[in-house]
């Protein structure tokens, strides 16, 4: 554990601000909205900046930030402020993927998020942490407070669900 008392602006940039993309992806996966995810990035970074002196005591900044983002997003989902929208609505409103991305990849990502939006929050969170952010199980335990076996079981379920969704979409495309 770090015992020094301050947390400089330079340290904040190199140890906290580098996780903005993590916050964004996590929020986007949980809130199913690009605009809300952008808001969450600003909100989380401001909060972290305000409490930057206490961050010096945090060993794993990435896990800490992910946990904070998860809690904030889940609160936001529960509150009236969070007007949860379906993936289709989001898709209609926003150009989430840039046109220069390959069409097939773009469709795959859209398909993943469309399917994820239908899944329970815990499964969405686990998929984001492990498959998108590439976190170790120990880190995921720290963030979610779940047992390793429960994490693996839930991950297995969400992966199979997503794969079956892709398979169905492909078969549907072939028979169309």
């Amino acid at each position: 554990m770090n015992t020094s008392t301050g947390f400089s602006e330079h340290q904040f940039k190199s140890e906290v601000m580098i996780h903005q993309a993590l916050v964004y992806r996590l929020a986007k996966g949980l809130l199913v909205s690009k605009e809300e995810a952008e808001d969450v990035v600003q909100e989380m970074m401001t909060r972290l900046w305000m409490q930057k002196d206490s961050l010096v005591q945090v060993d794993n900044k990435r896990a800490f930030i992910a946990k904070m983002t998860k809690n904030y997003c889940l609160d936001r989902l529960k509150s009236k402020q969070a007007q949860r929208v379906s993936w289709d609505t989001v898709h209609e409103k926003q150009a989430i993927w840039s046109p220069e991305q390959p069409m097939e990849a773009k469709e795959s990502v859209e398909m993943i998020y469309r399917c994820l939006a239908q899944l329970p929050e815990t499964q969405r969170l686990l998929f984001q942490l492990r498959d998108i952010e590439g976190m170790e199980y120990q880190e995921i335990e720290e963030i979610t407070g779940m047992q390793p076996v429960a994490i693996r079981v839930a991950l297995s379920r969400v992966r199979k669900t997503l794969k079956n969704h892709v398979l169905q979409q492909n078969q549907h495309g072939l028979t169309k």
Binding site: M17, R25, A37, E38, V41, A105, K106, V109, R159
Partner: protein, 139 residues
């Protein structure tokens, strides 16, 4: 690759194995629909990993308040003022003390003169008596 896919599906794969799967998915050498579906999922994950916010947060620009900008000037001015007042007051007190001493010395001098004048008066009175006596005797 089939074994790794199975391990991934069961939530038993390591991060290194998952990386292998993503690399494989770029050009999967298979016609099997299940494996192709896994490959497509992996490609989607690879793309999702690159997603970033359009607007990055930046720390607030530190604006120094006006009074802080001139803090050191204000401190220096205050010190100069205090020192100046102290020196000036000290100087005035010194002058006052010198005047007091001069006054006391003048007073002492006057007292001395006065004392001498009184002695002289006594001598004059004595001379007058002497003159009268002389006139009586030698008339």
């Amino acid at each position: 690759m089939k074994k790794i896919i199975d391990r991934y599906a069961e939530g038993l794969s390591s991060l290194a194995e998952e990386q292998l799967l993503r690399e494989w998915s770029a050009a999967p050498q298979t016609d099997e629909p299940q494996e192709l579906a896994w490959a497509q999922l992996m490609r989607g994950i690879s793309q999702a990993k690159e997603s970033e916010p359009q607007q990055l947060w930046a720390p607030p620009v530190r604006t120094i308040p006006r009074f802080q900008r001139f803090k050191y000037t204000a401190i220096a001015a205050s010190v100069a003022l205090v020192l100046g007042t102290t020196v000036f007051t000290g100087h005035r007190q010194y002058q006052k003390r010198q005047a007091q001493i001069a006054y006391e010395q003048t007073l002492a001098a006057f007292e001395l003169v006065s004392e001498q004048m009184q002695k002289a008066n006594k001598s004059i009175a004595y001379l007058e008596t002497y003159e009268q006596t002389k006139n009586k005797l030698f008339k």
